[in-house]
Symmetry: C2
Subunit: 395 residues, 2 copies
C-alpha cells in the first residue's frame, strides 16, 4: 500500500554508501589511519574563513526577522543580485537578480528544473560516466534517461553517439563539466559543436532541447584550464549550481537555478521553475546562508590541496602502470580497472585497505572512481598499497 519505488529508493543503498559503511567498520577494527577511503566526495578543505566571519557579523548586526525569516520563494533579492554581479564580472554575462531562483543545492536545482520542464514521454540525454543520482531525479520527474557513451579515451562528447541518442522526445541534455566522476572538462570546441548540434535538432523537432548545466565543480579546475560558460554558447541553457564544493558547504544545501533571458519564453520557464519548487515542497532556500552568499559570492575555498593531490596521485598511479584520463577539474580520478569486472578489482584493492568505487553505477563498467578530496598524507600513505595492487596484475 506504499509507493514501492520510494521504498526501493530508500532501502537500496548506493555502492558508495555501502563502501562508506564498510570503511567505518574497518576503521574500528584496524584504526582509521590504516584504511585508505577514497569513496566519498565530501570536501575536506575548510570553507573560507570569511564564511565564519560573515555569519558572526550577520548575527551581531541584523535582527532575527532578517536573519531567519522567510525570504521570497525565489530567494533574497540582494543575494540574487550579488550572484548576478559576480557572474557578470567573471564571464562578461548580463544576468540580473530575476534570472536566479535560489535552491537547497544542486540536487534540488536539477530536480526542480526537471519538474518544470518534463511532460510525459520526455527523454533526457546523459553522457556516461555520470553522477548516479541523475537517474533518480529524471525518473522521479516522470521522464526517461538515455545513456550516451562519451569518448572512452578522453571522456569528451562522442557526437556520433549523441546523434544516435537524440530524437523527437529529447527534452534536454545534461552537461556536467568538470565532470563527476572523470574530472574531465569539456573543451570549448566540444561545447561549440554541442551547441550547433542542439540548435539543429531543436529546429528539426520544432521545440527547444535544453542544455542542463550541472556545475557544482565549476571553480574546481587546476592550472590554466578554462570552463566555458555555457549560456554564452547556447541560448536554451539552464544552469544548476551549488556552493557545496566551491565553498565547502555541502551540508548547508545552498545553490541556484539560472534561467537566462536568452532562453525561449524565459519568464514562462522561470515561472515553471518557481512552480516546480513549490510543488516539490521547497518554500525558500535556507535564509542565513543566503545572506552569507550575498556577501561571499565568488569566493572559493583553498583548492591548492586538491591540485597537489591530483598531481601526486595521477603521476604515481601512472608510474605504477594504471591508466586514467588526466583530470583537469573536480576531485575525482576515473581509473581503468585492471580486470574487466571492476567489482572484483575493488575487492582485490580492499585487501590493501584501498576503498575505491566501481564505475558501474556511473554507467561505466571497467572503471573505478577515486575521490581525492582527502588529506595529502592519506594519499602518501596509500601509494604503496596502490603499487602492490598494480603488481598483482603486472607481475
Amino acid at each position: 500500500m506504499l509507493s514501492e519505488k520510494m521504498v526501493t529508493l530508500g532501502t537500496k543503498k548506493s555502492v558508495i554508501r555501502e563502501i562508506f559503511e564498510y570503511s567505518k567498520k574497518r576503521a574500528a577494527e584496524i584504526g582509521a589511519e590504516n584504511v585508505f577511503d577514497f569513496s566519498i566526495g565530501n570536501p575536506n578543505v575548510p570553507a573560507p574563513v570569511s564564511i565564519h566571519e560573515t555569519i558572526k557579523e550577520l548575527l551581531d548586526s541584523r535582527d532575527d526577522y532578517y536573519l531567519f525569516g522567510y525570504t521570497s520563494a525565489q530567494g533574497d533579492a540582494d543575494t540574487r543580485a550579488a550572484i548576478a554581479a559576480n557572474l557578470n564580472e567573471r564571464f562578461g554575462t548580463s544576468f540580473g537578480a530575476d534570472n536566479f531562483y535560489m535552491t537547497c543545492g544542486a540536487a534540488a536545482s536539477l530536480r526542480i528544473v526537471l519538474g518544470a520542464l518534463t511532460l510525459p514521454g520526455d527523454e533526457y540525454v546523459v553522457f556516461t560516466p555520470y553522477f548516479p543520482e541523475y537517474r533518480v531525479f529524471i525518473e522521479s520527474a516522470g521522464a526517461t534517461m538515455a545513456e550516451t557513451p562519451a569518448n572512452p579515451d578522453t571522456f569528451q562528447i562522442d557526437f556520433d553517439q549523441l546523434a544516435a541518442s537524440v530524437n523527437e522526445h529529447t527534452k534536454g541534455v545534461f552537461v556536467n563539466s568538470p565532470n563527476n566522476p572523470s574530472g574531465v572538462v569539456y573543451t570549448e570546441e566540444s561545447i561549440r559543436q554541442l551547441a550547433a548540434f542542439l540548435e539543429e535538432k531543436s529546429a528539426a523537432y520544432g521545440h527547444p532541447i535544453y542544455l542542463i548545466a550541472d556545475e557544482p565543480y565549476r571553480e574546481l579546475v587546476y592550472g590554466d584550464v578554462e570552463v566555458p560558460y555555457l549560456t554564452k554558447y547556447y541560448k536554451n541553457t539552464l544552469v544548476c549550481y551549488s556552493y557545496s564544493k566551491s565553498l565547502s558547504l555541502p551540508g548547508e544545501r545552498i545553490g541556484y537555478v539560472l534561467v537566462p533571458d536568452e532562453v525561449e519564453n524565459a519568464r514562462t520557464v522561470y515561472a515553471a521553475v518557481c512552480g516546480a519548487g513549490r510543488a516539490l515542497g521547497f518554500v525558500c532556500a535556507p535564509s542565513l546562508i543566503q545572506h552569507v552568499i550575498a556577501k561571499c559570492a565568488g569566493q572559493v575555498s583553498d583548492l591548492s590541496v586538491y591540485k597537489k593531490n591530483r598531481d601526486l596521485l595521477y603521476d604515481s598511479l601512472s608510474s605504477y602502470g594504471f591508466t586514467c584520463v588526466h583530470p583537469d577539474g573536480a576531485f575525482y580520478l576515473f581509473m581503468k580497472s585492471l580486470e574487466t569486472d571492476a567489482y572484483a578489482f575493488c575487492e582485490k584493492a580492499k585487501k590493501y585497505e584501498l576503498l575505491l568505487v566501481p564505475g558501474d553505477d556511473f554507467g561505466a563498467p571497467g572503471f573505478v572512481r577515486i575521490a581525492y578530496c582527502v588529506t595529502t598524507a592519506q594519499i602518501e600513505q596509500a601509494l604503496p598499497a596502490f603499487e602492490k595492487l598494480a603488481k598483482e596484475y603486472f607481475a
Copy 2:
C-alpha cells in the same frame, strides 16, 4: 512544451502574496506605520537568545567538516536523538533517533510523506478551513484532496461530514492542531473519536488510513490548553514538524518527519520516506541548523506577545460586534465576514488600511484570516479602524 501545471503554480500568486505586494506599495505611499497588515504568518518574535549563542559556540568549537559537511540523508544522529529525548520527556513517548527523518521544514515533511505513501487513485481528507498549500502538495503527489467541513461554530471535527468523505480510496487524514487559519486546538475527545473512527475504517477497507499530523504550531498555545500528542491515540500517525514557529526560524527550513514504531510496517514506511526525500531532490536538511537543534530542541521563543495580542484583538473585535471562534493556539484569528462575499468585505477593510485575507483559499468562504504575529502596537493602532469597519455594517 513545459509543464503547464508548474507554470500555473509559479505564476498564480496566492491571495496572501497579492495582499503582501499591495501592502508594500501602500506603505511606500502613506508610510508603513499607517498600513495595518495582518496578512502574513511570519513570526515577529525573535528566536531564543540561545540560538545565536549556540551558532557562535559551534563556529568556535567545531571544524567545518562537522559544521557544514553532509549529514546522513536522514539527518545527524545526535540531532535526532536529542529530539527523541525531548519528546519522550514531554509526552511520555519512547521514540528513538531512528524514528526521525530531518527535513527542510513542514512543507518538505508533508510533501515527502505524501510522496512516500501515495499510489495512483489515493485520496486525502482535509478539514476546512485548511492551509492552502495542502492542495498543492497533495495534487503534486498525484492524489486527490477531499475537503471536509469542520463544525462551523467550533471548527472541531464534524464526524458526520468526515464519515461522508472517507472511502476505500482514503489514504490519509490531515490534522493541523493548533490550526492555521482558525487557531483552534482539537480536544482530546475529538482525537479519541477520530482515532476510533480511523481504526474502524482501516479495518473495514483492509489498509491503514494514516493520520498526518501537521504540527508547526504545537508549542503555540495559550493558557493551560493541552494539545494531545497524536501518536499516543492512533498508531498509524506520521508527524510532520517544523521549528519555523516554535523557534521563530521560518527561513531556516528545518523540521522532521516522525515515523513511530507503532506504525504498521514502520521500517518500510520509514524507508519510503527516505526514498521520497531522495526522489524529490532533498539530500539532507541544512547541517549547521541541525546541530543547533541538537542543543536547543524543546526551547520555545517568547510567546507572551502572541498571547497578549490574541487577548487584545479577540476582546476588542468581539466588543465591536465581530464574531470569531476563540483561538487557543497558533497566531491567527478566523473571523466571520460581515457580508457573504469575504473579498468585498476585505475591500471595505482596505479603506481603513486594514489588510485581511479572505477565507476562500482556506476552503471557508465568508471568513477572513487575521494573522496577529505582529507588534502589539500595530494592533493598538489598528483597533479604531476595526471599529469603524464594524460600524459600516452595524450602523
